[in-house]
């Protein structure tokens, strides 16, 4: 068989394609890297990638008379996979903007690449507040939430309700560490104490022995500084061992998918912080319905933010008439976001300041329609929810 000519033809085809990408008439490329297959794949994952595509479609599929192309990849929660993919896309494909999905370790690694290569990097799923503090960059926008906001919104409410003594069960990587540290700060600032903490590996198979240690601490609050599958399995084991009878369990990062998979009877009364809930207003409900029609479930706040962030970026490109990173970043920091997900401003450190919410999970009786899970307890304005200018450890912030 004549394989060689075929291969040669392919090589030429690919070569010219790559060359095309680097010109100003080729497509504007947006990259989305997240956990597509492991424990965070439901809260963001492939559906998150589809939201980026929806935003591109709704924007008209073109910007500056150039088609828009969306690239997606699975980082498998590995920082090295995430950063090398980002590097490859920027170097070989001429990527214009990168969206970072779940997992803080990967986001911190990608932010280094994006800042070195000067590409806007919009972080959605990752929570570590280091992204806009110690590790801040002029090209990073931390779009949805962060560990400081989770700690301030959920933590404050709990301590003020009289739960002064805390014990942490923490996922042993960047996100868990940040969340534990930020929550500890909030607890102590409100006159509470921390009895101790135990760290479990990401994607742990069994939580019972960690839970038993937590129970031994005799603290009032068992704070779960983990997420996704780790959170659901912790909750499940905690109920099995009756820990919820001696301690109040607080999930510091809970998504609606977790509540759905555990069921209301297992989560009733749980208070949680989030940046968005589908059943808030008409625009959000319209977006959620469209999502539901395709996926038969409701979108998480991250999936809504994936859509919103893509839109915000494309609007900035259109307004400035270029994909030049510095100009686009300046525009994003000037105008911020304004849609169903968020009406936020982006600060110099890259932190988007917008409203956060404290929700409480409804009881099975209170829930009247499918996915009707939360009632809003408090709406916390952005300047109270996130790191303040005075607290910031970012060198880009002028104090």
């Amino acid at each position: 068989m004549q394989v060689k000519p075929l291969v040669a033809a392919l090589a030429i085809g690919l070569g010219s394609f790559a060359a095309l990408a680097q010109t100003n008439t080729g497509p504007v490329k947006i990259g989305f890297i997240t956990d597509m297959s492991s424990l965070y794949a439901d809260i963001d994952g492939p559906a998150g990638g589809e939201m980026v595509r929806w935003a591109v479609q709704d924007f008209g599929g073109k910007v500056l008379d150039r088609p828009i192309e969306v690239l997606t990849a699975d980082h498998q929660n590995k920082a090295d996979v995430a950063s090398s993919k980002a590097r490859e896309w920027i170097d070989k494909d001429g990527l214009s903007m990168l969206i970072g999905g779940t997992s803080s370790g990967t986001a911190l690694a990608m932010s280094k690449v994006a800042s070195e290569k000067k590409r806007p990097f919009l972080v959605i799923g990752a929570g570590s507040a280091r992204l806009t503090n110690e590790d801040c960059s002029p090209y990073t926008v931390h779009y949805a939430y962060d560990t400081v906001a989770l700690a301030k919104v959920a933590g404050n409410a709990l301590v003020k309700a009289g739960n002064k003594n805390w014990y942490f069960m923490t996922a042993d990587y960047a996100f868990g560490h940040s969340l534990e540290a930020d929550a500890t700060t909030v607890v102590k600032a409100n006159g509470g104490t921390v009895a101790g903490s135990v760290r479990h590996p990401l994607n742990a198979s069994d939580f019972s022995s960690f839970l038993l240690q937590a129970q031994g601490s005799k603290a009032q609050i068992l704070a779960l500084a983990n997420a996704g599958g780790d959170f659901t399995n912790s909750m499940k084991a905690a109920r099995e061992f009756g820990i919820n009878k001696s301690m109040k369990i607080a999930g510091l990062l809970v998504f609606i998918n977790d509540v759905h998979s555990l069921g209301l009877s297992n989560t009733e009364g749980l208070q949680l912080a989030d940046s968005w809930y589908w059943n808030q207003d008409d625009a959000s409900r319209a977006f959620a319905k469209r999502f539901f029609d395709k996926y038969k479930r409701m979108p998480s706040s991250l999936q809504a933010a994936d859509y919103s962030a893509t839109m915000t970026y494309l609007k900035a490109v259109k307004a400035t008439g270029t994909v030049d990173a510095d100009k686009v970043m300046a525009e994003i920091k000037k105008t911020g976001a304004n849609d169903f997900y968020s009406k936020g401003k982006v600060r110099a450190d890259g932190r988007m300041i917008h409203d956060m919410y404290l929700f409480e999970v409804k009881s099975p009786k209170e829930s009247t329609t499918p996915w009707d899970y939360y009632k809003t307890i408090a709406k916390v304005p952005g300047d109270q929810a996130f790191t303040t200018v005075a607290e910031s450890k970012c060198s880009l912030i002028k104090k």
Binding site: A41, G45, R199, H200, P201, G228, K236, S261, L262, N266
Partner: protein, 294 residues
Amino acid sequence: MEIFGIPHQAFLGQLMLGLVNGAFYAMLSLGLAVIFGLLDIVNFAHGALYMLGAFAAWIMLDKWGVNYWFALVLAPLVVGALGVLIERLLLRHLYGLDPLYGLLLTFGLALILEGVFREQYGVSGQSYPVPELLSGATNLGFMILPNYRAWVVLASITVCLGTWFLIERTRLGAYLRAGTENAKLVQAFGVNVPLMVALTYGAGAALAGLAGVLAAPIIQVTPLMGSNLIIVVFAVVVIGGMGSILGSVVTGLGLGVVEGLTRVFYPEASSVVVFVVMVIVLMIRPAGLFGKEA
């Protein structure tokens, strides 16, 4: 009284929890050891079969209201039947080849099965309730043990011992072992060896399925539950000695305990401690703790 700086009550509690996890390791590594010992197949699909067992139980409950006790029998049968199909349709063609082919085939199968369930059910998982009869907990004096976990240890040890007895102490087991030593000769005595081999793989798969059903009320039933566990279970088999049935059971329980204690003394290392043990064992006894030197 304190043991290594922690109260002895907490110590005993952790020991007990280690045993519960060890029970799963034992049952899964037992299936692997049976399949490897008799078929020479490194069954990487074992984790996926375990996941299938849990999903089968959940689907039966969700769709047809089949309760836990029926699922405990039906789900392993379903998974076992699938195992027989896999052996007859796919694995059969690989006998006599390098074991690597079997490994790759079963690994591919595992990826496909997981992918299909991920596509269908997502990764957040489904909640399977603890059966009524076993809900509640018993105060053991040193800890409050959920009744269900006690049942898991009991069920697993019974199944493991039963399997060991079947293979090492019965006529059927003797046929099996003889069939793998010299298939032609055994066939000459009128024994249907291919059928026996297919049923063996089916039985190994059913064991994985049973472990899955037992796990369903404890952890979220997710497509990933198998792949999270399978690597550790392989390490257990390697430490116990590939193909050694009793070895895999004892090692499974033992490593569960080792892992449990690591979670207390140095939790950060709890996900690697099994592999550290594996390295040490392989350096001292390359054939594993209970394996025969080749």
